[in-house]
C-alpha cells in the first residue's frame, strides 16, 4: 500500500495548496476516503492495448506507445526538451495531476502513474499523443486528461505532459 499512500499524500497535498477544504472534500471525496481503490485498480484487463506497439516503441519515451503514457492526451515532454519524468527547461510542473493505471509489459505489473503537465510556455506542438485507457470525462477530474492541469499554476499555459510512476497498483 506504500505507493497508494504516496498517491493520496501527494494528490491531497497538491490540491490543498489551491482549493478550500470544503471544495476539496466535495470534488475529490472519493480519492481521500479509499473508495478510489476501485477506479484506480480496474479488474478488467482484457481490453488493454488492442494493438500493442512494437517492443521498442513501448519502451521509447519519445513514442506515444511507451507503456507509461496510457492516459496522456497532449504533447510528450520527452520530445520537448524534457524526459518522461522531467519538464523542459524553463517550464514549471503542475502541482495537481490526473492519474492513470498502466500495464508494464516488461514486468507484467500494473502501475499507478501521475500525469503532470508542464506549464508556462506555449504548447510544445511536437509528439502529440492521444491515449485514453481508463480515462474518464471531467466529472471524474482525477481521471480526466482534457482538463488543463496547469490551471492552478502561476503561468497556466499548457506546454507538455510527463508521466511519473507512483507505485504498483496492488489489488
Amino acid at each position: 500500500m506504500h505507493s497508494i499512500d504516496r498517491l493520496f499524500e501527494k494528490s491531497s497535498r497538491a490540491l490543498a495548496q489551491r482549493t478550500s477544504r470544503r471544495s476539496l472534500l466535495a470534488a475529490f471525496g472519493q480519492l481521500l476516503t479509499g473508495a478510489v481503490l476501485i477506479p484506480l485498480l480496474p479488474m478488467d484487463r482484457s481490453a488493454r492495448a488492442a494493438t500493442p506497439g512494437a517492443k521498442s516503441a513501448r519502451d521509447d519515451p519519445q513514442s506515444c506507445d511507451y507503456w507509461k503514457y496510457c492516459a496522456i492526451d497532449g504533447f510528450l515532454c520527452a520530445c520537448c526538451g524534457g524526459s518522461s519524468t522531467s519538464c523542459p527547461p524553463g517550464t514549471a510542473p503542475s502541482p495537481i495531476t490526473w492519474i492513470g493505471t498502466c500495464h508494464n509489459p516488461g514486468d507484467k505489473r500494473d502501475y499507478i502513474v501521475s500525469y503532470n503537465d508542464c506549464c508556462g510556455k506555449v504548447s510544445c506542438g511536437t509528439c502529440e499523443c492521444n491515449r485514453n485507457e481508463r480515462e474518464k470525462p471531467m466529472y471524474r477530474p482525477s481521471r480526466n486528461n482534457d482538463l488543463n492541469w496547469c490551471m492552478a499554476n502561476a503561468d497556466a499555459n499548457y506546454h507538455c505532459s510527463v508521466s511519473v510512476l507512483l507505485g504498483v497498483a496492488e489489488q
Binding site: S23, G120, R134, P137, M138, M151
Partner: protein, 381 residues
C-alpha cells in the same frame, strides 16, 4: 484563298481594336464585407488550434454557399455558445499578458453575429474551466437574461453573469459537480462524479434559491457518458462510451431521466463505439440522431469515427450507416446538424476537413479542406 486571308486579317484587326479600344478597368474601392443574414445553415466551428493553443478561433461557415463567412478570435481553451436568438456569439476564454505567459485574464467576449465585431466583454475571476469544448462550458438561460460559465480551479463552481449589464452577478459552488446545463429561465444543472445531476435554481438576482440532486442517470464506472450532451427538444441526450443514449428532459423543475436505449446491440456491443470530440447531433424536427462510430475497445472514446450511424429518435431504430471512406474522407471527430426541415449534416474530420452532407440522404454536398487546425466542436442556431 485570298478571301480567307482577308477575313482572317479583318478578324485580327477587330480583335486588336477591341483590346485597344476597351476602357481600362475602373479604380476599385476598398470595403468591408457585410455578413449575409443568419440562416439555419450557418455553422460556427470551434478550432482549438491545438498546436498553437493560445490562438484558438471560431470559423463561421455557410453550408449553402460553402463560403467561409469570417472568423472570431477565441484565445486559450475557449468555450463558446450562441445566444438563444442566435444574434450573439459569447466566447469564454483566457488571455495572458505576454501571449503564453504573464498575468491571466479570464473573460467572456460578446460578438454581433451580423458584423462579427466584438461588442463588449465581462471579465471573470480567473477560475474558468480550461477544458475541451462542450455545449456546457458557457450557456445562456432560455430567456437570455443570464449567462452561466463553468469554473474549475479544480474546485468546481459556476459564475452567473448578466450579459445586458456586462457584470458578474455571483458564483455558486457545485459541490464537485461540473459544467452548466441550462434549463428554463433560472435553472442550472451540473454533472456529478456519481452520475447524478445537481440542479441549482436561481432567484431573480441570480443567487441560489434552492438545489437538488437527481438519481444517478448513468454509471460512471461501468459506462460513463460523454460530457458533450446533444441538444434535443426539451433537453439533452448523453451518449455513453458503450453507446447507450441517456435522454434527460429538462422542461420541468427537476430533470426527468428517461430510460436509456442502445445504439449498439448483439455482437457489435463494445466493438462498435461512439467517439470523438463531438460524437453526435440530433435533428429535432426530423427526429434523427447522428453518431460518429468506430471499432475499438477501452480507451478508444476519443477516436474519430469511420462511419456515421443514423437513428430514428422515436423508434430508436438505426436507419443508415454512412461509411466515410466511401467519400475518401478521413475519420470524423465532430458532428452537427442544422435544425430546419432540409437539414445539413456537418462532419469535421481528424484531418481538419469539413464535410457537408444532406442529412436526410447522406449525399455528400461539399468538402471544405483545412477548416482551421483542429476543428473539434460545432454550434449552429
Amino acid at each position: 484563298m485570298n478571301q480567307m486571308l482577308l477575313r482572317a486579317g479583318l478578324l485580327s484587326l477587330a480583335a486588336c481594336f477591341r483590346v485597344i479600344a476597351a476602357a481600362p478597368l475602373p479604380a476599385e474601392h476598398l470595403t468591408v464585407t457585410a455578413m449575409p443574414p443568419v440562416n439555419a445553415h450557418r455553422i460556427y466551428i470551434v478550432d482549438e488550434a491545438f498546436n498553437n493553443e493560445i490562438d484558438a478561433r471560431v470559423h463561421v461557415f455557410d453550408g449553402d454557399t460553402f463560403r467561409r463567412l469570417g472568423q472570431l478570435d477565441a484565445g486559450y481553451y475557449p468555450t463558446y455558445n450562441l445566444s438563444p436568438d442566435g444574434k450573439t456569439s459569447a466566447i469564454g476564454t483566457s488571455y495572458f499578458a505576454r501571449g503564453g505567459h504573464g498575468a491571466r485574464t479570464d473573460v467572456v467576449e460578446f460578438a454581433d453575429n451580423q458584423t462579427l465585431a466584438l461588442t463588449h466583454e465581462i471579465i471573470l475571476p480567473p477560475k474558468r474551466a480550461h477544458t475541451l469544448p462542450t455545449p456546457f462550458g458557457l450557456a445562456y438561460s432560455a430567456d437570455g437574461r443570464f449567462v452561466y460559465v463553468a469554473y474549475v480551479t479544480p474546485a468546481a463552481s459556476f459564475g452567473v453573469l448578466d450579459p445586458a449589464k456586462a457584470t458578474v452577478l455571483g458564483e455558486i459552488d457545485t459541490a464537485g459537480c461540473v459544467l452548466v446545463i441550462p434549463s428554463g429561465p433560472n435553472r442550472v444543472s451540473s454533472i456529478c462524479e456519481s452520475g447524478k445531476l445537481l440542479t441549482v435554481t436561481l432567484d431573480e438576482k441570480g443567487n441560489e434559491a434552492s438545489r437538488a440532486f437527481s438519481d444517478a442517470f448513468f454509471d460512471p464506472d461501468a459506462d460513463p457518458v460523454f460530457v458533450q450532451g446533444i441538444p434535443m427538444s426539451g433537453g439533452y441526450a448523453f451518449v455513453s462510451f458503450l453507446g447507450d443514449v441517456h435522454e434527460v428532459d429538462f422542461t420541468g423543475a427537476q430533470p426527468l431521466l428517461r430510460k436509456p436505449w442502445p445504439l449498439v446491440t448483439g455482437a457489435d456491443k463494445g466493438r462498435w463505439r461512439p467517439g470523438g470530440t463531438q460524437p453526435g447531433a440530433i435533428s429535432s424536427p426530423m427526429h434523427r440522431l447522428y453518431v460518429s462510430m468506430h471499432q475499438g475497445g477501452e480507451g478508444s472514446h476519443k477516436n474519430a469515427g469511420t462511419e456515421i450511424w443514423v437513428f430514428d429518435t422515436v423508434s430508436h431504430q438505426r436507419i443508415a450507416r454512412w461509411p466515410m471512406r466511401a467519400h475518401k474522407l478521413s475519420d470524423v471527430l465532430a458532428l452537427q446538424v442544422s435544425q430546419d426541415e432540409a437539414p445539413l449534416l456537418f462532419a469535421a474530420t481528424n484531418q481538419a476537413d469539413l464535410a457537408v452532407f444532406d442529412a436526410l440522404t447522406g449525399q455528400l454536398r461539399h468538402i471544405e479542406p483545412k477548416m482551421g487546425q483542429t476543428p473539434w466542436f460545432m454550434h449552429n442556431p
